[in-house]
Structures are given as structure tokens and as C-alpha cells.
Symmetry: C2
Subunit: 176 residues, 2 copies
């Protein structure tokens, strides 16, 4: 279970812009600060501007800045704006072909779990993620350090499919 890179980068650029405060930032410096794709970040900034989280300031010393106060940027709302869907299983998406749709009890369980996930994000705003500008200068990565959930042992071999191409569930495999 993953969020898209799109959401990941959206949260990063908002954190960066929020931390910069009134200073205008640029896509270039944000991409450089995180060492991530400038092209990908441009698309992210475009959506965050369209959805009212960022605003652009034109001119020679123009740039981008938050369009709202950090405490008014709810994290659940951001993720809802940036995730293409929350199709945990096939029947959550359009084009569903699962034969037990309608009588299956799994969707209720997964909806309850998803609502619990979103409800937690709903309790936080961008203000809770603010850092200092210094935090972006010195790398804090410690070798082997992972920030993921305790219930997952990263060293264990994954039970599920491991190759990236198999990890998408954008289309159900054709019947063979």
C-alpha cells in the first residue's frame, strides 16, 4: 500500500514553501533541496496552484508561496486532492468487473479502514510539519534508517510481487 510519488512530492513542496515563510521559493530550488525531478515537481506545483494551496508571484524576483496559512492546510484535504484515487481493491474503481460486487462484505471493511486512515490525516495541518530552513541544508539520512511502520520488517522478503511492474493494480491482469 503506497501513496503516489505525486502526493509525496506535494507534501514535500508544501513543507518547503511553508518553512520558507514569506520568502518566495522556486521549483528549481525545491527540486535541488530534495534532489528530486524538476519536471515531476512542475506538475505537482501546477495542481497545488490550481487547487488553491500555492500561488505564483510573477516578475523578476517572482516565485511561489503558500496561498493559505499552514494551519489552514489540512493534510487529509491535500492527499484527497493529489491521490488519483483510493481504489484499494477493484470494486472501488470504475470499470469494476468483480462478480461478487453487491454481496461482498469486504468493501465495508476497507471503507472503514480507509476512513480511519483519512480521519488521522484530518487531525493535522501543514503547520504540524513545519521545519527550519536549516533542516534542508544538512542531510539527516542515516544509513539504513527507515521511518516506516513497526509492524513491517523491511529485511523480510516480500510475500507479494516484488517487481515494480507487478505492483500496480491499474488494470487487472487478463484472464489466461
Amino acid at each position: 500500500m503506497r501513496l503516489t510519488t505525486f502526493s509525496d512530492y506535494a507534501l514535500r513542496v508544501l513543507t518547503y514553501a511553508g518553512t520558507a515563510g514569506e520568502r518566495l521559493i522556486t521549483i528549481e530550488e525545491t527540486a535541488e533541496a530534495y534532489n528530486i525531478s524538476r519536471a515531476h515537481l512542475m506538475k505537482v506545483v501546477n495542481i497545488l496552484t490550481k487547487t488553491g494551496y500555492l500561488k505564483g508571484v510573477r516578475g523578476r524576483s517572482g516565485g511561489i508561496t503558500l496561498a493559505k496559512r499552514p494551519e489552514d492546510i489540512n493534510l487529509a484535504a491535500v492527499v484527497r486532492a493529489t491521490e488519483p484515487d483510493f481504489a484499494l481493491v477493484e470494486c472501488f474503481a470504475t470499470g469494476n468487473q468483480c462478480i461478487i460486487t453487491g454481496c461482498c462484505r469486504l468493501p465495508n471493511v476497507l471503507n472503514e479502514a480507509l476512513n480511519a486512515f483519512i480521519a488521522v490525516l484530518d487531525r493535522y495541518t501543514l503547520a504540524d510539519l513545519m521545519l527550519t530552513q536549516r533542516d534542508f541544508r544538512a542531510p539527516h539520512i542515516r544509513s539504513g534508517k527507515r521511518r516506516g511502520p513497526d509492524f513491517i520488517d523491511a529485511s523480510r522478503p516480500a510475500a507479494g510481487p516484488s517487481s515494480p511492474s507487478k505492483r500496480t493494480r491499474s488494470a487487472a491482469p487478463s484472464k489466461s
Copy 2:
């Protein structure tokens, strides 16, 4: 945010096997019942057998059946066994390169949300998903019917990337 097709199919085959009760099922009939890939299902059954959820019975009239009672098959445990990871953002995975790792506050928020998600699944077992054999015979799909969360309007254009290839976050895009 999605679960893998692997987890989706795992939950389906367990539901099918549980509903069949003492009758042995086969991969072929399960693939046919759901109209899904037999090859994909074979891998799923293999993992579910290795992890002690299914057992195979050899012989002319052999097949597969649940290795435990449905009420002893916890849904959170199944998903933990079938999802390759819960790497919601880059720093939850191995190979993390995010420069603010260590001082960033997002992982705590996401871990809390993920734990809330898993905690809901932890309250359910396969017994809660049991159907009748008849449910697999008549298609219950109603045109346009989607079982996803209420907070998502499936008809809205997705804000995030929409092409399947862009939806994986298996590898961060290279810096451009």
C-alpha cells in the same frame, strides 16, 4: 492509494475457499468464478499456502481448502502477508534518499494513519466475509456501481497522475 492486485486476489481466493467450506476448490474454478487470471492466482495460492492460510490436498479429487477456520484468519494479518510493503512515502522504504529524513514530521503522522487503517482490519476475520455459494453464480455488478469511499467522487478528473506507469512509486524519478 491502493492495495496490490495480489492482496485483492488473496482476499478473493480466501473468501471463495471459506465459502466452499469442506469442499476442495481448485485454482481453475476460482479463476473462472471471478473471471481473473489463473497464472496470477497460482502465485497468490502459493504464497497463501506457504503462509499457512491455505492447504493443498493431493490426489485425483485433490484441491485446496482453508488451513484454518475462517474466524482464525485475521484480515490485517492477511494483508500484512500479501502486501510487499506499506511504503506510503519514500522514507518508509529502503533506499530512501529524502534529505529531511530524521527531522521531518510527516512519517509520524503517516504511521499513525497507517496504524489506524491496520487496526480496523485487525478487528475482522475471514468469517466476516463469508458468502453463500449462490453469490458466486449470479453476477451482482450493477452498471456504474462503485463501492469506494464516499469522500471520493469517481467522476471527478483525477488531480494526480493518471497514467498507470506514473502511478507506481517504486523508484523516484531521476533528477532532471
